[in-house]
Symmetry: C2
Subunit: 413 residues, 2 copies
Amino acid sequence: MKAGILSIGTELLMGKTVNTNATYLSKEMAELGIGVYYHYTIGDNPGRIKKALNDLLNTCDIIVTTGGLGPTLDDITKEIIADTLNLKMILDERSLSIIKERFVMFNRAMPESNVRQAYFPEGSIILDNEKGTAPACIIEIKERNKCIVVLPGPPREMSYLYETYVKAYLKMKNVTKMHSVYLSVYDYGESAVEEKLLDLIAEQTNPTVATYAGDGKVLLRVTASGEDEQNNIDAVNHFVRTIKERIGNYIVSEKGDDIDKAVFDLLIEKGLKIALVESCTGGKLTSALIKHSGASEVVDCGLITYSNDAKVREVNVSRDTLQMFGAVSHQTCYEMVKGLVAKTGADIGISVTGIAGPCGGTTEKPVGLVYIGISIGGEIYTFENKFSGDRDLIQNRTVYKALKILYDYLSKM
Amino acid sequence: MKAGILSIGTELLMGKTVNTNATYLSKEMAELGIGVYYHYTIGDNPGRIKKALNDLLNTCDIIVTTGGLGPTLDDITKEIIADTLNLKMILDERSLSIIKERFVMFNRAMPESNVRQAYFPEGSIILDNEKGTAPACIIEIKERNKCIVVLPGPPREMSYLYETYVKAYLKMKNVTKMHSVYLSVYDYGESAVEEKLLDLIAEQTNPTVATYAGDGKVLLRVTASGEDEQNNIDAVNHFVRTIKERIGNYIVSEKGDDIDKAVFDLLIEKGLKIALVESCTGGKLTSALIKHSGASEVVDCGLITYSNDAKVREVNVSRDTLQMFGAVSHQTCYEMVKGLVAKTGADIGISVTGIAGPCGGTTEKPVGLVYIGISIGGEIYTFENKFSGDRDLIQNRTVYKALKILYDYLSKM
């Protein structure tokens, strides 16, 4: 099945909003084995929307539109679809009463213009929107075996409706059953992963494997399709075992989780308290853990000892060490984590000190030199790293590396 | 002038990559007064690229393509354009020698396939790419008064080439001169801004004003166009003065800077040292300052006192205060910043304590309740805030609010 995504909204064409909807829908539909062939973005203009719609109807089986379902006069997606397909617009009383209830719930009077949101092209399958006032719909063009899925523009509403209704609908249309597993790979680049799995990627027919890189992570999706669900599960599991034999040391989750979540879950599971002392990452490492709800159970504190004074005062690094070896050294990194654990009594301590740049580097200690220390089970280990990139990238790479070190020690405890 | 953006790359259609290029180019071209009417995204397929190109040539004066300039066989953008316009592909010796030099510089042998990157449709204006191996080009279709701007896909290379060459080229094509100023608004929502400027937005012809919302900021772009450059500058300045009369308290930069940069610059300018103590924001506030190069001149330390123990141990909050008023209270917030400044001797102290949720809220102290304290010039002030949203959003809103408080005090010093 071929699909096209039609994003409607002048704000996208003015560069006000990044079109994350098209990316989300493409990734989701790829998982269902539906190939997305086109993304079109058009402003709130009837003629251009109609032309794009006709173009996509000529080449695609499934068209997903986003945007243009609001109450204002420039929200015209459903009207243009009805016009293009020669369908009447019909008021859906049930949708109208749900919209009215939403306004009552928020203690506001419903403007008359919101009534438009309860009109749909005749014969539409209506999808209730619990996250906003704009209900979505699916219009089936039975004689051509095509359909148009009409979703609102706000990403939160769009993804909710896709997840709740559209995914199941598309699965149903797709007679083939699918099973997917997502592996999160860290500390190993996308091209390195692809090289290790070259034969699997080259020969892939079923299961298939796809890589998605971003934010320090390479996400591997392994998907099997076929009539028998158990066969699909077995095929994926077999494939995943082969992958793990090759790059198992770099896989931190088989649920597609980010590494901060994987580390956080391990800390909760093992009932351990952590304390952190950061310099060049400036709080990014601690906030990666505290972003998770329930952080108070695992995080005692994070100390961002940016200045030398702070290193001495907060975690008892000796002035001699700073003088002799510098703030960016194995020795300082060691004393930071040692002082941290002595002071806090935390089960695990992590220290980070480095040069994030762009200034401050020397030939001996270049920008990107970072030491990471861990105190665990009464032992202290420090690691030297050399990261490349700009300040932001060096900070992020340090955070991912520190989390990977934490993950490795925690998962072996 | 009408423009269309054609993004080429199967990875975009698989949902591997968000199309930030289209957003960037749309925003940039809007600033030049060029209306972008279409975004098309197409995979690495000759037939579909050619059809999209012809569609856009029929309706647009300027077409910008991104992607498909790499050395591999599926990189076919220039070939398809040449084919569509009946142009020969010609080897550009100068480009070839630049590409070869790049490989020498990185100590690598140039694969034969990279020679393809030095071929261009005949008559192309060639744009050197200092950020990668793929040179870009502009193809002018003089008889139709149209042009195709051909840029590489990686955003860093694309934006470099746009900024360095394409912007000036498009400005030159556009006989009208333009002048723009960017105002950064914080602590005031987009719809509130629009309401305050309703008449200016409604009546706008020249200068025009556009709003861009994102990451706690509303960016206002004020643009005047006309033959006389001084007139444009005067017209923009006059418009900016009117805007500042209405919402001046919320404007933190007239260069479009983010608030963390504005605060950082004020600290540098005034030669002040800051210390921070955070609870619910978990390090995000400190890292917003430390992300800037030269942070060691202004940041002494950040303490993330997530647990009650840490609040007592690190910044000397009394156990009685925690017992009587709780960790999320004016009193604790006050003692946090007081203890912080006493300990560090920093010129300015900031404290944050709140409930980021989703758990931990009560009727009296709901999720989103956040106290922010500032110690400055020997005085301490604390502020109560109620933020809505999920955990991530409440953390971010707290960071922006704390930075706004800092900005307000610092700019009055």
